[in-house]
């Protein structure tokens, strides 16, 4: 009896659409990724309903973590020489004894979280290795501490530029730290801040959601 022949089917699957989609997704993620600069400290910011985006303008930023350590960032957008001026000025007024190379290093350094006395040690390390040094934070008290002087010097170096002040705090940071940071700014007569938060949905049925939907329907952008 002749056996029934089962036709052999190819096991080959056409992967082309699959690959197409995969690379589409890959392209999307490559485009969407924005590498954030490595911070010396991990900070998880609170949420808020504010929709204002961070603008790429000149700004000073103060970061404080849950242990109360305070870090100071000077971020000029175009003119990096401003940052160099800050450290040069500081070097002479505070007698830090920094070399030119160390001052150049300061320009590349993302955040400062050491007292003035520890600045030389931090800047003697190359930028890549600074992460290994545990920074104790800028000394701060109810009158602002060293942070007050940092802000004062940075503001004077930025004179003539519009400058923004960003505060970035950790969820579990205690209120006194926040208050001391505010005091340091207040002593410099700076009273307007932007606090970095993560976007959160407006709860339905509240006044703000009514205002937002009204703004939307009238075609104007929310304040």
């Amino acid at each position: 009896m002749p056996s029934v022949k089962i036709p052999k089917k190819s096991t080959f699957v056409d992967m082309t659409p699959f690959v197409d989609v995969a690379f589409l997704i890959l392209t999307f993620f490559i485009m969407a990724t924005k590498f954030k600069p490595a911070d010396p400290v991990e900070v998880k910011t609170p949420n808020s309903v504010s929709t204002k985006d961070i603008t790429d303008s000149d700004h000073l930023q103060v970061t404080f973590d849950k242990d109360g350590r305070v870090f100071f960032h000077i971020k000029p957008q175009k003119d990096a020489s401003i940052k160099l001026n800050v450290i040069k000025n500081l070097n002479t007024t505070r007698n830090l004894g920094l070399t030119d190379a160390e001052m150049k290093n300061f320009v590349m350094t993302e955040a400062i979280g050491v007292p003035y006395t520890g600045l030389k040690q931090l800047l003697s390390l190359p930028v890549e290795n600074q992460g290994s040094l545990r920074q104790p934070g800028i000394p701060i008290d109810s009158t602002g501490g060293e942070l007050y002087f940092w802000i004062r010097d940075a503001v004077s170096a930025f004179s003539g530029h519009t400058l923004k002040y960003y505060l970035k705090g950790d969820n579990n940071a205690k209120y006194p730290t926040f208050k001391n940071v505010l005091n340091a700014f207040k002593r410099n007569e700076i009273l307007k801040f932007n606090m970095i938060t993560m976007l959160e949905d407006v709860p339905a049925g509240t006044e703000l959601s009514a205002i937002r939907s009204r703004d939307k329907s009238s075609g104007t952008t929310p304040k």
Partner: protein, 213 residues
């Protein structure tokens, strides 16, 4: 792409004696490419932070030595929120009573209703006067210089002007608590609020309430 096949070889008959050229398969093994592709996708998924941070405005008042200026808030419209340890909120309306009978405890989930109720009662007891008309006029016109647009609800602009929320975070309150309560001000459209320090008596009351629970 790789699976494009050269088909139709059978349909075209060549003459007898003509030798068929050996056909090479154009199929390419794509497995390594796919592997690499997915490896990269995984990498980028893990490194991407999708939600971009936003900023929240905060305007602090200048420290004034004059007491009269600080106490401008009308007692009837004042609501004081004290932020304590473990996300607890204590609050009282108006002035704190001697026997602390209006010193109440709440939480971040419930405080919104307290603020809404307070606002409602302030709006109900609102008195229309000259100062109120000025505020209305300001809201109706808007201010092109500062980017404040004319308010379509300008008539209501001054109804809640007596509402002042005083926020007093204590030493144990976290930064998140502070931001959350400021956010609550934005959510409920409270126009006047201030962040100040606690009075010693309030600190004691918080301690007492914490011990009692």
């Amino acid at each position: 792409m790789a699976s494009i096949e050269e088909g139709g070889g059978e349909s075209h008959k060549k003459g007898p004696g003509v030798k068929k050229a050996k056909k090479l398969s154009t199929r390419v093994d794509m497995t390594p490419m796919v592997d690499l592709g997915f490896l990269l996708i995984t990498f980028f998924i893990f490194t991407t932070t999708m939600s971009s941070p936003t900023t929240m405005d905060l305007f602090m008042p200048k420290d004034t030595d004059k007491d009269e200026e600080q106490n401008k808030a009308k007692e009837s419209g004042a609501l004081t929120l004290l932020l304590g340890k473990n996300d607890v909120i204590y609050y009282y309306e108006g002035q704190l009573k001697e026997d602390a009978s209006n010193f109440l405890t709440s939480s971040f989930g419930k405080i919104r209703q307290v603020i809404i109720d307070k606002k409602k009662s302030v709006i109900e007891t609102h008195v229309h006067d000259e100062g109120c008309k000025k505020i209305q006029e300001k809201a109706r016109v808007g201010d092109a210089k500062t980017g404040v647009r004319p308010d379509p609800n300008w008539q209501k602009a001054c109804y809640d002007r007596d509402l002042v929320v005083v926020i007093k975070p204590d030493e144990e309150a976290t930064y998140k608590n502070t931001i959350d309560i400021l956010d609550e001000m934005a959510i409920n459209d409270v126009k006047r609020y201030a962040m100040v320090d606690l009075f010693p008596i309030e600190k004691e009351l918080i301690k007492k309430t914490q011990g009692g629970n």
